[in-house]
């Protein structure tokens, strides 16, 4: 036993470290879960109208942080369009266009479809910092009062939505 123990410890440690090495930490837990979303005042895409966090309250919604320079956003976009059109799920999606140009964003939406009920633009990225965003796309689930219930980092797809987000929405609606 005395001789095997170091080997067991070594193998255990090796497996643990090797596993950590190949599983990059992409989903860092957000401290914002369970808290009200940060306050903001952003102008609507291609418009002078400003909206604040209070203006988007009142419905269980998704807030999707995206940009035209973001590869993952391209990947998830068709799913968002599909989701927005789904009347049984019936969830509004609010877009935050992050560090982008309005003209590029508008062209993107006219070419690929617009899943958003409103798109706010955050060209300097200050609101994104308040939301703890570090890699687009990121999607937040908020309730009627604006409390954040879930955050997904990376492209959204039907599987992630059905497994991780839909159950929370159903809970909230109950």
């Amino acid at each position: 036993m005395k001789r095997i123990l170091p080997i067991i410890i070594f193998v255990g440690l090796f497996v643990f470290l090797a596993k950590s090495l190949y599983q990059p930490q992409t989903n860092i837990p957000s401290p914002l879960i369970g808290k009200p979303m940060p306050t903001f005042s952003l102008s609507e895409l291609n418009s002078d109208t400003s909206l604040t966090d209070n203006d988007i309250l009142g419905a269980i919604s998704l807030i999707n942080v995206w940009a035209t320079w973001c590869v993952g956003c391209e990947q998830e976009h068709s799913f968002l369009v599909e989701l927005a059109a789904n009347q049984t799920i019936d969830i509004p999606i609010i877009g935050i266009n992050w560090k982008d140009r309005d003209d590029l964003a508008l062209r993107w939406l006219s070419q690929r479809g617009d899943p958003y009920i409103v798109v706010l633009s955050d060209p300097i990225g200050k609101t994104a910092i308040d939301f703890g965003v570090y890699g687009a796309p990121e999607t937040f689930l908020i309730d009627e009062q604006g409390v954040i219930h879930y955050k997904h980092i990376g492209p959204l797809d039907s599987e992630i939505f059905a497994n991780n987000i839909m159950p929370i929405i159903q809970d909230l609606r109950r």
Binding site: L5, I28, G125
Partner: protein, 125 residues
């Protein structure tokens, strides 16, 4: 070789440039430099915000500089970041319930090893 060194030197000074560094006191500069070295860039996780050229790191540097200029303390700025990005954003996470294991595991492992060494008789009984 000289050329290579020169290029490396140029790169290193470029990385250390300070966003919006006009009109700050040397104290403010020191605080700013200290904080950005302790904050992790979440996009490229093995670099600090001071080292990284990622867009987000630049934004965070600008934000930290602004707050330093406004006279925020080190704790203020760190808690601002913690509230948004969580413990992971600091290289030196605070000692609290969720980080007990992180801080105490080295001590625990050393104690275990000492105990084991004693048991097999490497160190005195």
């Amino acid at each position: 070789m000289k050329k290579v060194c020169l290029i490396l030197l140029l790169i290193s000074t470029q990385v250390n440039s300070i966003e919006g560094s006009e009109e700050i006191t040397s104290q403010e500069r020191e605080l700013y430099q200290q904080i950005i070295q302790e904050v992790r860039c979440l996009v490229c996780q093995n670099q600090s915000v001071a080292e990284s050229n990622a867009d987000l790191a630049k934004d965070l540097r600008t934000e930290i500089m602004e707050q330093v200029k406004q006279g925020s303390s080190e704790e203020d700025i760190k808690s601002y970041l913690l509230l948004r990005y969580g413990d992971f954003v600091l290289y030196d996470p605070s000692f609290k319930k969720s980080t007990y294991i992180l801080w105490l595991s080295p001590v625990l492992i050393i104690l275990l090893i000492l105990g084991w060494l004693r048991k097999i008789g490497v160190i005195g009984k």
